[in-house]
């Protein structure tokens, strides 16, 4: 039941992000007559402080969060996995350098570093993706390195070396497929983290700029009207909660599915 619901929510999110543009044409249309109007047949989720329909703004916000989340995860997973693979496989000073770099990044709270970077680079979608990517690759690198260190002593890797395979071939054909499962699980949680981070930075005014909508900026706008129009905060707040919760459930499910030991135990 819960699984089905979470998949349904994620499907809605993806559909809203990919095909919702047509339903959100009026997201920025100001209507002073409908300022802070509660949910009604005119607007299913009500209207904001400028009389704009919250449902349509939520759809635009879905596009923003989807783009940022998948953009950040794509960049960070590729860069992080590659660095982790190289560090674990090559060892020596390259490993030392990458490990030190990872430690330096881990020493900072990620979101604070992202806030500082977004502040320096200025607000905007592209800068938001860059800021979150700079701090997001570390988890993938650490995971990929640890997995590679464990796998590189395996017989099939030694055999590939003996057969004269090149380093890149060994990394991409013999190691990467074996470490892909935990990386995919990590990426799923990464999407959830990026959704929260994007909302957080937009809440602080460092993300999407008005009049464009983002779930974080919608909460920021609504915070001033909590007493009079709680729907302005509840709508984007609950949406973030549901999407992140569903992503975490998906991550857990993937981890269970891709864990060979767990699957084998179930079969036996």
């Amino acid at each position: 039941m819960l699984r089905g619901l979470s998949m349904f929510i994620l499907l809605l999110w993806a559909l809203a992000a990919l095909f919702g543009g047509g339903f959100a044409a009026g997201a920025n249309t100001i209507d002073l007559q409908r300022i802070l109007a509660p949910p009604s047949e005119l607007g299913l989720l009500g209207f904001d402080d400028l009389g704009r329909p919250l449902l349509e703004r939520l759809i635009v916000g879905a596009q923003t969060s989807f783009l940022v989340a998948f953009g950040v995860v794509a960049v960070t997973s590729v860069i992080g996995s590659l660095l982790g693979l190289i560090a674990g496989y090559r060892g020596g000073w390259i490993d030392l350098l990458i490990v030190r770099l990872i430690e330096v990044f881990l020493a900072f709270p990620g979101i604070l570093l992202a806030i500082a970077l977004a502040g320096i680079m200025g607000p905007g979608l592209d800068n938001l993706i860059i800021a979150l990517s700079v701090v997001g690759w570390v988890g993938y690198a650490r995971l990929a390195r640890a997995q590679t260190l464990a796998l590189k002593q395996r017989d099939h890797v030694s055999a590939a070396i003996a057969l004269g395979s090149g380093h890149w071939r060994i990394l991409l054909r013999h190691l990467l497929p074996l470490i892909a499962a935990p990386l995919i699980v990590e990426a799923t949680f990464g999407v959830a983290g990026a959704v929260i981070a994007e909302a957080g930075l937009s809440f602080l005014g460092l993300g999407i700029q008005p009049p464009a909508a983002s779930w974080g900026s919608m909460i920021r706008d609504g915070a001033s009207y909590m007493l009079m129009a709680p729907h302005m905060v509840l709508a984007p707040g609950c949406t973030i909660l549901l999407v992140v919760f569903s992503l975490n459930l998906l991550g857990d499910r993937l981890r269970d599915r891709l864990d060979i030991r767990l699957t084998a135990r179930k079969r036996s």
């Binding site: 920025n28 249309t29 100001i30 002073l32 007559q33 300022i35 802070l36 402080d49 400028l50 005014g205 700029q209 008005p210 009049p211 706008d221 915070a223 001033s224 009207y225 909590m226 007493l227 009079m228 129009a229």
Partner: protein
């Protein structure tokens, strides 16, 4: 075993006791608490420039001159006599006034205060309004002579500076943190940051000014009884919400703080009078006031409201007329094929951003694409003073004397010399300003300034928007607080707490 159990139980009980009793400070129910959006920055009136400091300094100190409802200068602690066009004699009418340190206020204190501000070495921001004064002399214990460089019938209106004790000025006393004035209040405690406790000298009533930045939190504190009184800095929606609550009273009166859209005259687009007039016709001020500001404002046509003694009463309102705006834009060479694109700067205050977004959508309806930029106050104001803008919106607060027209619109008053931030240059307005300064009587002066306002209404270096109302919200037990059109806190002189109206339950809640 028993020993170890009690060893756990004792700290647990202590922790529980701490949690139960740590509900916050005990509030003294004899103190009237007023919530402020920002704490005062400087309680030395010689250097204070922010509105909160100026309003609190009015309570702590006294002035030679005050203003009536029409903004005409009236005697404060002194009356005056014009001996000649360039010579005024002021006489302290309340000779028994004393400073909070016990010293009497005399003519020497007035002379010392004005001499300090006039000394360029002291870099007082208020010096520029007083440069007309050539000399200040003490005649006797009660009389002071002011000698001017040229005649100016407005002169007494410039003497609204708070008076400080001469002895402490000589000793370089830190007035900014330890003010010593002769006003109706004195500071009794400012040890807690963001809290200022004043004592009203006439009846020893304690009044605490508490800084609560977030308006929602301010309202919640008012509802809970942690503060008794709020003035302005609330969104219209919060005011509407408070109106619907029991036990809350709301006072509202017309204000005179002037909101406007300013243009950069050096810019090719906004320097064009057709574009400025098109923008003026494209903004539906009535709709914004009615639907967004909850009718808590009135439309403005000039810097001063009509009730001001130099206010222009016969200026025709600029109507909302999008078709005319489009036609004017067409005449200026803009249209669907060549849309006008402008950048609009505003502060990061959420309400200002909201208004800017509405104006953006109204201008879009006539074909003007507005790019909104909101900045923190320092960056925004720095850009405006440096002329780095096409159009912006701001509010003039506390303007009293019509010499402000020279400060704001004279071509030689571009910052830092004045506040002609839009680089407005009009030989005719410069000429009219010169004529106004040579007038001998206030009646003639008023006529001159009305001509200037007429001209400005035609040229539109500013698009006049509105004068926002003054609002005070208080709990039912608060009595006697009177609002002022400029939003000062003089109402604290008469405010009372009627204890009979506080229910015992509320008192218990407040003391929690």
């Amino acid at each position: 075993m028993t020993g170890s159990r009690s060893a756990i139980r004792v700290p647990l009980l202590f922790l529980a006791w701490l949690l139960l009793t740590a509900c916050g400070e005990v509030l003294d129910d004899r103190v009237i608490r007023m919530g402020l959006a920002t704490a005062p920055l400087n309680l030395d009136p010689r250097f204070a420039t922010d509105a909160t400091s100026a309003r609190i300094n009015r309570l702590l100190y006294q002035r030679l001159v005050e203003f009536d409802a029409r903004s005409m200068p009236v005697p404060g602690i002194a009356d005056w006599r014009r001996i000649s066009g360039t010579h005024y004699r002021f006489r302290l009418t309340r000779p028994r006034q004393v400073f909070s340190n016990g010293q009497p206020l005399t003519a020497a204190d007035v002379v010392a205060t004005y001499r300090f501000v006039l000394d360029p070495a002291n870099a007082s921001p208020h010096r520029s309004t007083l440069t007309l004064i050539e000399q200040v002399e003490q005649v006797n214990e009660e009389q002071i002579d002011f000698y001017l460089q040229r005649t100016d019938p407005l002169f007494p209106a410039y003497l609204a500076l708070e008076i400080l004790p001469a002895k402490l000025i000589a000793e370089s006393h830190p007035f900014e943190s330890h003010p010593v004035g002769s006003g109706g209040f004195r500071i009794v405690d400012r040890s807690v940051p963001g809290r200022l406790r004043l004592e009203r000298l006439i009846d020893h009533q304690l009044i605490e000014l508490v800084e609560v930045k977030n308006p929602t939190v301010r309202v919640l504190k008012l509802l809970r009884g942690e503060i008794h009184l709020l003035q302005n800095d609330l969104s219209p929606e919060l005011v509407g919400y408070l109106k619907s609550r029991d036990g809350i009273q709301l006072k509202q009166m017309v204000g005179n703080n002037f909101s406007y859209i300013g243009f950069n005259m050096d810019d090719a687009a906004t320097g064009n009078p057709l574009v400025r007039r098109a923008i003026a016709h494209a903004i539906d001020r009535q709709a914004i006031i009615r639907l967004v500001m909850n009718r808590a404002a009135r439309t403005a046509e000039a810097l001063f409201p009509p009730e001001h003694w130099a206010g222009a009463v016969d200026l025709p309102p600029i109507p909302y007329d999008p078709e005319r705006a489009k036609a004017l834009l067409g005449r200026a060479g803009y249209g669907p094929g060549n849309p006008l694109k402008l950048t609009y700067k505003t502060s990061s205050d959420p309400f200002r951003i909201r208004l800017a977004t509405i104006i953006q959508s109204q201008l879009q309806a006539v074909g003007i694409e507005l790019d909104l930029r909101s900045y923190d106050w320092g960056t925004f104001f720095g850009d405006i003073k440096a002329g780095r803008f096409q159009l912006y919106s701001l509010t003039w607060v506390g303007l009293r004397t019509p010499d402000s027209f020279r400060y704001i619109f004279a071509s030689d008053h571009v910052p830092p010399a004045g506040a002609n931030r839009g680089r407005y240059t009009s030989p005719l307005v410069d000429e009219l300003l010169l004529q106004a300064e040579s007038q001998e009587s206030l009646a003639e002066l008023a006529v001159s300034y009305r001509h200037i306002q007429q001209r400005l209404h035609e040229d539109l270096p500013y698009v006049p928007l509105w004068y926002e109302d003054q609002l005070a919200v208080s709990r039912q037990e608060v009595e006697g607080y009177r609002l002022r059109p400029d939003g000062n806190y003089d109402g604290l002189e008469t405010v009372e707490l009627m204890h009979s109206r506080i229910s015992s339950a509320e008192l218990a809640d407040a003391a929690d």
